[in-house]
């Protein structure tokens, strides 16, 4: 029983990480029907942005919990968000907007190019900055007092502080996002653009701005995920966006691409499935080396049997 609960918690916290990234895929797809395959790199840039912020603050260590959680962590999140939002906006402006009326394949190829470009840029140049660590191998992520280190024991179940952080971040981000999309002027402009961009334009909506906002929103959540990833695995590297991005994409498809609630549910389900697979599948197939196989097997099963995803994809319903 303890094992089941333990794996459920592990799965939820891993899933929350996927969900935070998956929202970015789904929001962008919902508004421009583009799978932004460079979104994993936006997440990676967020993690490096937060790490850079920490370096610029003078690599503070051994802080009191109050300073760590009240000052250093918010500053790191903010720095990560700025970097990833900036990356996403530049991407949208210079790589995707010129291709908006091009065949579907063109922005997709552009996205793959960007993905490789960003990885290589970080690999080659980040360590060149004087005083910064060599980025060709994993960089240890800063220890945030209160979030790393000792974990909570409840009976036989261990809960990492980082798991609480990730789940809490997902809850807050999802609530904020729901409010933003449904209750604000820009959110409704985004919905209008996603339902019928031409008509939205004729109603005086700045469609370019609505699309850029969708990229920015997804990037902000990816940056939070970047920090959560660093805290969870204790290190970051230039390749971290690839696998995380593929998993989050799977989560978005699982939940129904274009559907924000679906991305959250899909992320959590995928996380739980991975955690359960490594525990309950016997023999070598249950080893952690196989967990990615199970994740992508789910992607294939969903695409074959329920392509609209668990909660239903956004249907393009224009006349």
């Amino acid at each position: 029983m303890d094992l089941l609960i333990q794996q459920l918690i592990n799965g939820l916290s891993l899933g929350a990480l996927y969900a935070l990234i998956a929202v970015g895929y789904t929001v962008v797809y919902g508004i421009v029907q583009l799978i932004n395959f460079a979104h994993g790199e936006v997440f990676m840039m967020g993690a490096f942005g937060s790490y850079t912020t920490w370096m610029l603050m003078g690599s503070p260590t051994n802080l009191s919990i109050g300073v760590a959680l009240g000052l250093v962590l918010p500053a790191m999140i903010l720095g990560g968000v700025l970097v990833s939002v900036g990356t996403a906006l530049l991407m949208e402006r210079f790589a995707y907007r010129p291709l908006r009326n091009a065949p579907r394949l063109a922005p997709l190829i552009s996205a793959i190019g960007l993905s490789i470009g960003l990885q290589e840029a970080v690999r080659l140049f980040y360590g060149q900055i004087p005083g910064f660590p060599d980025s060709r191998r994993a960089i240890p992520f800063p220890v945030i007092e209160g979030l790393t280190g000792r974990s909570i024991q409840v009976g036989g179940v261990t809960i990492q502080h980082s798991a609480i952080f990730t789940l809490g971040a997902l809850l807050i981000c999802a609530a904020l996002l729901w409010w933003f999309v449904n209750k604000t002027r820009m959110g409704r402009a985004m919905q209008a653009t996603s339902q019928d961009a031409d008509t939205a334009r004729l109603m005086g909506i700045n469609v370019d701005k609505a699309i850029a906002t969708a990229f920015a929103v997804g990037a902000a959540l990816a940056a939070v995920a970047g920090v959560a990833h660093g805290l969870r695995y204790n290190n970051i590297d230039f390749q971290m966006g690839f696998m995380a991005g593929m998993k989050a994409f799977t989560a978005a498809v699982l939940g129904g691409i274009g559907n924000i609630n679906g991305a959250v549910v899909g992320g959590l389900v995928l996380g739980i499935v991975e955690a359960m697979a490594t525990t309950y599948i016997p023999g070598q197939f249950g080893s952690s080396a196989w967990k990615d196989v199970w994740a992508f097997a789910i992607l294939i099963l969903v695409l074959v049997f329920r392509p609209q995803g668990l909660l239903g994809a956004k249907v393009v319903d224009r006349a």
């Binding site: 339902q195 008509t199 334009r201 004729l202 005086g204 909506i205 006349a319």
Partner: protein, 313 residues
């Protein structure tokens, strides 16, 4: 004093709100709209008629910035309209569509609120920080949107999802959404298509009330009774060119308009040279050939052209 007022009136009437000058739209070798001149004055209801494929909707698209005319220009309130739909909307031109294009997954109220956003200012940052201006504007937007719904008679349907609304209501909702932009000029593309006679009369009454708000209206329509009873002026577009632009009484008696709609002996194969020209004297305005008694079949169209449309009682 009296003369001054008259002068002011004169200027208001003389200065067109929208002025299309030699507007031409070519698609490759096809000239869809050819050197169209059209003036619309404030508070005027102008009808745009013409057979299918005459270029009416293409002309609308030129006016709203969806197309950039290949030649000519569109002046609105004295300035050239930029070929960007958003800026045209902000400048004060709103439109509806021949095939309804609502935001299907939003409620009626939300659709109208979207129409109003061109007139509000808060940006995303202010919204996230929940600054007072955002809250105030949001509340005001909601209130004004509700008023427009009331205006078109959909006040009770505010929370209905627009895709679930009856067809006639969707048409009125589209008009409400356009009105929420507070345009100076409203473009209606076949507002009564597919409506029954009762709904058509309601639409007519609604458009008259819109004029009462001081807005000018340009309306494309195939229902001649509707056009000739509603409009101050009617322009007939044939093969992309303006055939005639005059008061309804003149347009409905013009032989060329009849010819455009039902053809003439000149078009008969084999007798193009010898065929007699239509005798204009027999079609003189003093002896109208086109009268529209209630419940008569429209002589210009001859039959109902809209599928799935009107079921006359």
């Amino acid at each position: 004093m009296t003369t001054q007022v008259q002068i002011t009136d004169e200027i208001l009437v003389e200065e067109p709100l929208l002025s299309a000058r030699q507007v031409t739209m070519q698609f490759g070798g096809l000239t869809a709209v050819n050197k169209v001149d059209l003036d619309i004055h404030p508070g005027e209801i102008v009808g745009l008629i013409g057979p299918n494929g005459a270029g009416k909707t293409t002309f609308f698209n030129c006016l709203t910035g969806m197309y950039q005319p290949t030649a000519g220009q569109v002046l609105f309130a004295g300035a050239v309209l930029p070929p960007q739909p958003r800026k045209v909307a902000v400048a004060g031109v709103a439109r509806t569509f021949q095939n309804i294009r609502l935001f299907h997954n939003m409620t009626a109220l939300e659709n109208v609120m979207v129409g109003r956003y061109a007139r509000t200012k808060t940006n995303a940052i202010e919204a996230i920080l929940r600054l007072p201006r955002h809250r105030r504007e949001e509340a005001e937007t909601r209130e004004v949107a509700q008023q427009w719904l009331d205006f078109v008679g959909l006040g009770d349907a505010a929370e209905s999802l627009s895709r679930n609304m009856p067809y006639g209501d969707q048409r009125r909702l589209e008009i409400a959404r356009a009105l929420a932009l507070e345009p100076k000029l409203l473009l209606l593309d076949e507002p009564t298509a597919g409506m029954n006679p009762q709904e058509t009369r309601e639409a007519e009454e609604l458009i008259t009330r819109i004029r009462g708000l001081g807005m000018a209206v340009l309306v494309i329509e195939h229902d001649m009774r509707f056009i000739f009873s509603l409009c101050d002026r009617v322009a007939c577009l044939v093969r992309g060119e303006v055939l005639i632009d005059d008061v309804p009484e003149v347009v409905q008696n013009d032989p060329r308009v009849i010819e455009a709609y039902i053809g003439s002996p000149v078009d008969m194969p084999g007798e193009q040279e010898e065929a007699p020209r239509p005798d204009v004297s027999t079609l003189a305005p003093s002896k109208p050939v086109l009268e529209f008694p209630p419940n008569a079949i429209n002589p210009i169209i001859g039959h109902r052209t809209k599928p799935g449309g009107r079921k006359d009682a």
